[in-house]
């Protein structure tokens, strides 16, 4: 179990007059062995913060640490893994799912050891070990997202970042993926940064929640507390915007 810590992180894009500050001085701790929900609307910087953590976006100021050490973004062992929104895009169509998972598995395993690891991971996400030879195109959206989860787990990560992992799935599939992620966190003792625009989903998944707006972190606290008693006006606005949240219906 590990703790992921963002200290005064700032990320810019572009230069000169067109420079945009996507993340502005954000400090945030994902406590070990728990799920932190990160909510915000498009352009709030929540995804950029995640991409900065795994080295996909440049960090211009501040630091991102894992148990006090900088997150390695080079080398073959990466203790921080990420699951993306669209499993169709995040799995190479030309690689079998077994190969995609094995590619990230620890180096130095024998061929048989690798196959066993792939089988173990597939079963962990409730797929059959025999499906390792399948290509992503042969699976359903929900199954592909399970493969993406298994690939992230293959890297024996200490922390996983889940970026809108149910947004591109059909509503009837979503629940199963959310249940699976919750079970995995409880079973393996993962630390999880769960990013979503959907407050109801975050409320269900996370023990703590952080709210971002326009690159700033505006509020952070235990989920139940923030949802019941939002301190920042923007959080109140977000809560009020959830469809059906104590608002008069549009009936005449």
């Amino acid at each position: 179990m590990s703790e992921l810590k963002f200290s005064h992180v700032t990320v810019h894009f572009g230069t000169g007059r067109r420079r945009i500050t996507a993340v502005d001085d954000v400090s945030l701790v994902v406590p070990r062995g728990s799920i932190l929900g990160l909510v915000g609307e498009s352009g709030s910087g929540k995804s950029t913060l995640a991409r900065a953590a795994v080295g996909l976006a440049p960090v211009h100021a501040g630091s991102i640490t894992l148990d006090g050490d900088p997150v390695p973004t080079r080398g073959s062992y990466r203790p921080l893994q990420m699951v993306f929104q669209d499993p169709t895009a995040s799995l190479d169509p030309r690689l079998t799912i077994g190969a995609a998972i094995a590619e990230v598995a620890p180096r130095g395993l024998t061929r048989a050891g690798r196959a066993a690891e792939v089988a173990r991971l597939l079963e962990l996400v409730h797929l059959e070990a025999g499906q390792a030879a399948a290509f992503p195109g042969q699976l359903s959206g929900g199954q592909r997202q399970r493969v993406a989860l298994a690939r992230a787990l293959a890297g024996t990560p200490k922390v996983i970042i889940a970026d809108e992992i149910t947004s591109s799935l059909d509503v009837s599939i979503q629940g199963a993926i959310l249940n699976l992620v919750r079970d995995l966190v409880a079973e393996i003792g993962l630390t999880l940064l769960f990013i979503s625009h959907n407050l109801a989903v975050v409320r269900y998944m996370a023990s703590r929640v952080a709210v971002m707006q326009g690159g700033h972190l505006v509020e952070e606290g235990p989920t139940a507390l923030v949802m019941a008693n939002p301190a920042h006006p923007y959080t109140r606005q977000l809560l009020a915007a959830v469809p059906g949240a104590d608002k008069p219906k549009g009936t005449p």
Binding site: E41, R51, V54, G55, L56, S76, Y77, R78, L80, Q81, M82, F84, Q85, D86, A89, S90, L91, D92, R94, L95, A100, E103, V104, S140, G141, G142, A148, R151, A152, G155, D170, V171, S172, I173, Q174, G175, A176, L178, N179, R182, H197, N198, L199, A200, R203, Y204, M227, Q237, L238, A240, A241, V242, P243, G244, A245, K247, K249, G250, T251, P252
Partner: protein, 646 residues
């Protein structure tokens, strides 16, 4: 279907491939068979017209022209392949440079490629011809280098396209090395399009090579290729005008063989090509085809008594008719079906939908992607295009029967408004927003230009767009997403509509903007007494706005109920759908309810569409389409209504 079968699926592709094979065979055999004949000089029969001895006539030295054309196949083909190889290799190195060289150098290379592709290939070829001089090898080098920028641009686009995809990011995060990414992920994903484009490109290079030789810049005598033969024929054009036809025909056929082989394979594999020759219609058809569901025989289900005594049973295809013929309704739909042709026959994504919307009522339509909900909306609005087909027992709107074959343009233009999902693409990017609203006022409201524009500004204000007069003069790209959706709603209320059909109007928007747009729709409905038909995949959105909800699954409405009763719905699918989505009141300590399996795919429809995923399903569910039973305002299509309610 194997890959090869798929690639050579059309007769055109097969013809092109056979032609290409023929050229290759000729290149190997022709010099062996006709080599001597092509060199035999006959001064007694120079520039002879076609005859039995010389099918294509003879040249200035009395040599058989047809033999020379056939023999020239080898040199022409070899030079073409040489130039193509130079172009592809140089292009690949340049195109992959940004990935390998890093940002600054990569950008410089990108800029240079961008500049070079702006010049016509012939100009680049002439440029290199000046440097390398005349001759076969020089021309091959010149043409190869001249085609390099185009190949480089292609490689760059392909590499960038692969790099932008999340699986590259996932591999990087997983600690996979740079070269491994290049060989394991990038190359396999660009190999096929590159090969296909190289084939098509070889066709253009063959034609250009013929051009250079024709100008005397390519192959020099005594060697000859097709271009050189054409040049020699032109010199004797006054004696024998059509002599150049034979080598010309060879050039065109071989060029076509390369081009078409490449393009047709690209087409069948769905690969982007440099030329953009790919036909559009196929893509268009694919886009308008919602899934591929086979139309099963769906005759009227027989009337049966269900287990529950308070649910009177109505045959599936004549729902509602006994109680209510929909005469009082604003919109009344009976037995609506939408059918599309596919390669494997006709499929019906919408299979017999019936419902009513009363004046001023807000009705929601909920379903997952592929359930047919958007097609139902388009079909009601008479917007399904060829080759899709709409059939219905009745679609009555505001007293008019829309299926009577006459055009109801004015009625639909004035009384029916549509709001679509993606406000970013639903407004014309090259026309001012005000003009796009005013257009409707002029077409159906009888307004003149000035009055229509004034009305447009007034409507923009009505949908709470600040500074409406200034905004009306702006283009859509100057609006934010939420503003654009307001403008679309403003377009909807330009005249005085009686029904607004909103198809996923907030799916593309942020939550706070979504709340504002839903609020706007609700308030317009309250103020003007307009009926609202809201289509969404999100139960909570529908629940927030609508009085009544229609639930769609597998092309049919499986339940029609007051929104307030959603939590106590009768259909197992509705109940599961409501339970599977976490809300702000979900018990966070219990696991979420899940629905096993996935929505029905091709040919999976017999009996109840939900049966494969339903915990209550029995043999009857799998065999027979459930009849609709109704109790008051509540209608359900399920054989197990009583058990489900319990």
């Amino acid at each position: 279907m194997t890959r090869v079968q798929k690639m050579l699926g059309t007769p055109l592709a097969r013809t092109a491939a056979v032609l290409l094979g023929l050229v290759a065979v000729l290149a190997v055999l022709a010099p062996v068979i006709w080599g001597r004949r092509a060199e035999t000089v006959d001064m007694t029969g120079i520039l002879a017209p076609p005859s039995a001895a010389h099918w294509a006539g003879t040249d200035g030295l009395g040599r058989d022209l047809l033999a020379r054309v056939l023999v020239a196949t080898r040199l022409t083909l070899l030079l073409t392949l040489e130039a193509t190889a130079i172009g592809v290799v140089a292009g690949f190195l340049l195109g992959a440079a940004p990935f390998l060289l890093g940002r600054v150098l990569g950008r410089a290379v990108t800029w240079l490629i961008g500049m070079a592709v702006a010049f016509p290939g012939i100009l680049l070829a002439l440029f290199f011809a000046v440097i390398f001089g005349t001759g076969a090898a020089s021309a091959a080098l010149a043409l190869g280098l001249a085609s390099a920028p185009a190949f480089a641009r292609l490689c760059q686009t392909l590499v960038a396209g692969v790099l932008a995809r999340d699986f590259i990011a996932a591999a990087q995060i997983g600690g996979v090395g740079r070269f491994r990414i290049l060989f394991r992920h990038i190359l396999p994903n660009i190999g096929a399009p590159l090969a296909v484009n190289a084939t098509a490109g070889a066709g253009s290079i063959l034609l250009s090579f013929a051009g250079l030789s024709f100008l005397g810049l390519g192959v020099q005598p005594p060697a000859y290729d097709w271009g050189r033969l054409m040049m020699e024929c032109l010199q004797s054009v006054y004696v024998y005008p059509l002599a150049s036809l034979t080598p010309g025909l060879a050039v065109v056929l071989a060029g076509l063989a390369f081009n078409l082989t490449g393009e047709t394979i690209a087409h069948s594999l769905g690969i982007v090509t440099m030329s953009g020759l790919r036909g559009q219609s196929r893509r268009a058809r694919a886009a308008s085809r919602p899934g591929s569901r086979r139309a099963g025989p769906t005759g009227p289900a027989s009337v049966r008594t269900s287990g529950a005594s308070d649910w009177p049973v109505v045959p599936a295809d004549v729902e509602l008719t006994s109680q209510d013929d929909g005469a009082a309704a604003l919109l009344s739909v009976r037995g609506l079906r939408v059918t599309f042709p596919t390669e494997s026959g006709w499929v019906s994504p919408v299979r017999g939908v019936s419902f009513d919307i009363a004046p001023g009522e807000a009705v929601g339509l909920v379903g997952e992607s592929g359930s047919g909900k958007s097609l139902t909306a388009l079909a009601v609005a008479q917007l399904i295009e060829f080759p899709g087909r709409v059939a219905a027992d009745a679609v009555r709107f505001a007293g008019a029967e829309l299926t009577d074959g006459t055009s109801h343009r004015h009625l639909l233009g004035t009384s029916l408004a549509m709001v679509f999902q993606d406000p970013m693409t639903s407004l014309n990017p090259t026309r001012r927003v005000g003009a796009q609203l005013a257009e409707l006022g002029r077409a159906h409201g009888g307004l003149n230009r000035r009055a229509a524009l004034a009305r447009a500004v007034d409507r923009l204000e009505a949908v709470r767009i600040p500074e409406p007069a200034r905004r009306a003069r702006q283009y859509p790209h100057e609006f934010s997403g939420g503003m654009r959706q307001r403008a679309m709603i403003g377009l909807g209320v330009m005249l005085n509509p009686r029904l607004i059909i909103a198809d996923e109007p907030t799916t593309a928007l942020d939550v706070t903007v979504q709340a504002q747009v839903l609020d706007l729709l609700a308030s317009i409905r309250r103020r003007d007494g307009v009926a609202l038909w809201l289509i969404s995949h999100d139960v909570s959105v529908v629940a927030a706005v609508c009085d009544r909800t229609l639930v769609m699954y597998g092309g049919r409405i499986v339940e029609d109920l007051p929104t307030a009763r959603l939590r106590t719905a009768a259909h197992p699918y509705t109940r599961a759908l409501v339970a599977a989505v976490p809300t702000m009141t979900t018990d966070v300590t219990a696991p979420l309810a899940t629905i096993p399996g996935r929505p029905p795919g091709p040919g999976e429809l017999s009996g109840c569409a939900f049966a494969p995923r339903c915990p209550l399903a029995d043999d009857r569910c799998r065999a027979e389409e459930p009849a609709v039973v109704s109790a008051g305002a509540h209608r359900v299509a399920c054989w197990h209504v009583a058990e489900a309610v319990r």
